[in-house]
Every structure is written in structure tokens, then in C-alpha cells.
Amino acid sequence: MCREQLPVWQKFYIQHHAENFEILSISMDTQGGEVARRFTEAAGVTFPAAVDRAQGLWELYSFPVVPNGFFVDEQGIVRYAKIGGFDVRNPDDAAAIERLLARPSRPRVTPAGSEHTRTVEEALRRAREAAKREPENLDLRMSLAERAIDAKQDAEGLRVFQSVLEKNPQSTRALVGLATAYLDLGQKDKALAALRQASRLDPGNWIIHKQIWAIEHPEQFYPAINGPWQDKQLEQEKAKK
């Protein structure tokens, strides 16, 4: 389970934070930050902890599974990527990150006004402006829809995702985002229909798969995750194929 890594990452963070190092953890929980927060709080996490509810990131970073690690250097360049099975408890994975950290790095003095955080409303306002500047850019439109959902503007998010799907009905990112908006608006059946369509387009995507299970069988996920149930479910699905 990914969450069992959190206390170990916290230790790693304390050990290396002074080396100009940050961890940005992102939980892929459509059900919202609250379900993830229980685990980060229990682990005493002090590094930035975020949630990608509408799950736009798996398309942007091409990952069909979690846990993943991407190391980005001072200039914003990707220096390391491991998709699936990335684990701080695995000596190889931890050593790969420590090798990158062994390079000298001087913390840049952060200029005023470019702090790491802004409000979700501010992020939505910026996304609206960006999408307005390039109305034909579907990526910007999807980012806008995702920021709208973050800011609890689900009706706007839904409308914008629908406008993307009119142009590109094959967009799994838009379908999964649409499902998130439908879930928030209490339309579970429509959410499931959108997710099933996304799953047909991208059958290897484990994140969509789990999301369908979590909506169909919430009692197996919340408040506690039933691991053996998931194993059985997976076996049954493999048998069907």
C-alpha cells in the first residue's frame, strides 16, 4: 500500500530538506483530500501534500498506476522517473534519489511573491484567464475544468469538460474529470458511465479501474481499505478475460 510509505518519506524529508530539497506528494483520490489526509496526518507529514481529484496528472505524466516518483531539478528538468512500484523502502529507489541529492545545490533565494502556494480560487482565476487567451487549446480548457472542481465550482467544471468532449470524445482525461464533477453533483450513475467509457479507451489504466470499484463498492474502501477483497476482485476480472 502506497500510504505505508508516508512515514518513511517523512524521515527522508527531515534528513534531506536542508539540501535544497522538497517533496510534493500528490494523492490520486477522487473522493477528495480528506480520505488522504487521515494518512498524512497519522504519518506526521510536513512536506507539501496535495490531491489530484480530477486526475489530470496521469495523462500529463503518462502513468496508469501509482506509486510513482519524478525528480525535478532546480531548473525544472526531469532527472529521474519511476512509474509504478516506486518505494522509499526499496533501497534502489531511495539510493537513486540520494544520488541526485548528493550533487551540490545552493538554495535560490525565493523572490517575494513566488511562494509555493496560492488559494484554489486564485488558481482557478488564472486558469480561466489562460483558457480565455487560447480558446482552442483543449489542454488549457481541461486544466481550467480541473481547477474549477478544486475550487468546488463543479457545474463550471462539468460544462468545460463537456465542451472538450464535444471536440475530442476520446479524451480519457476529460471523461475522468467529468466523472469527478458528476460525483460531486451527486450523479453517481453518470459518473460511472463516464469512467467505464474511459476504461474502455484505456483498459490498462489501473487508476480508472480502482475508481470504478470505489464507486460501486464504497464499503470496501471507506473508512478502511479491504486488501483481500481487491485481490479477489482482480482475480475475478482476470478470469473473465
Partner: protein
């Protein structure tokens, strides 16, 4: 005997590769290339983090899930 010219074959191969690419996977994150920028909200839903705001620092992006 087949008389398909090499450029034609290469053209067909290119079409085939594009056709075989899974939908929505146009981009790949490459080592040595800029990390695509994104914004994600904090777990309490109040603030937002943007990757490019971490410029000047080394960042490990760690994706996980409670499930």
C-alpha cells in the same frame, strides 16, 4: 514481386505508430526534458501548489493513493 518504395514503407510505418499510440498518451515525460507544469490543491482544499513555483529547488513528485 512487391514494388513498394522505402519512403512509402516509412510513411506507412509512421501512420501505424501513430495509430497504435494509446489515446490520450500523446506526451511522454522524458528524462532531461522540462517537467510539464501543473497545479494541484492541498489536501485541505484551501491552497494550490504549482510545480513551476518550486523552481530553484529540487523536488520529488510522489504520486500515491489512499487505496
Amino acid at each position: 514481386m512487391l514494388s513498394v518504395k522505402l519512403p512509402t514503407l516509412m510513411f506507412l510505418a509512421a501512420i501505424w505508430m501513430v495509430a497504435m499510440a494509446p489515446p490520450g498518451r500523446a506526451r511522454e515525460v522524458e528524462i532531461g526534458e522540462p517537467a510539464p507544469d501543473f497545479t494541484v490543491p492541498s489536501l485541505d482544499g484551501k491552497t494550490a501548489y504549482r510545480l513551476s513555483d518550486f523552481r530553484g529547488h529540487r523536488v520529488l513528485i510522489f504520486h500515491w493513493a489512499s487505496w
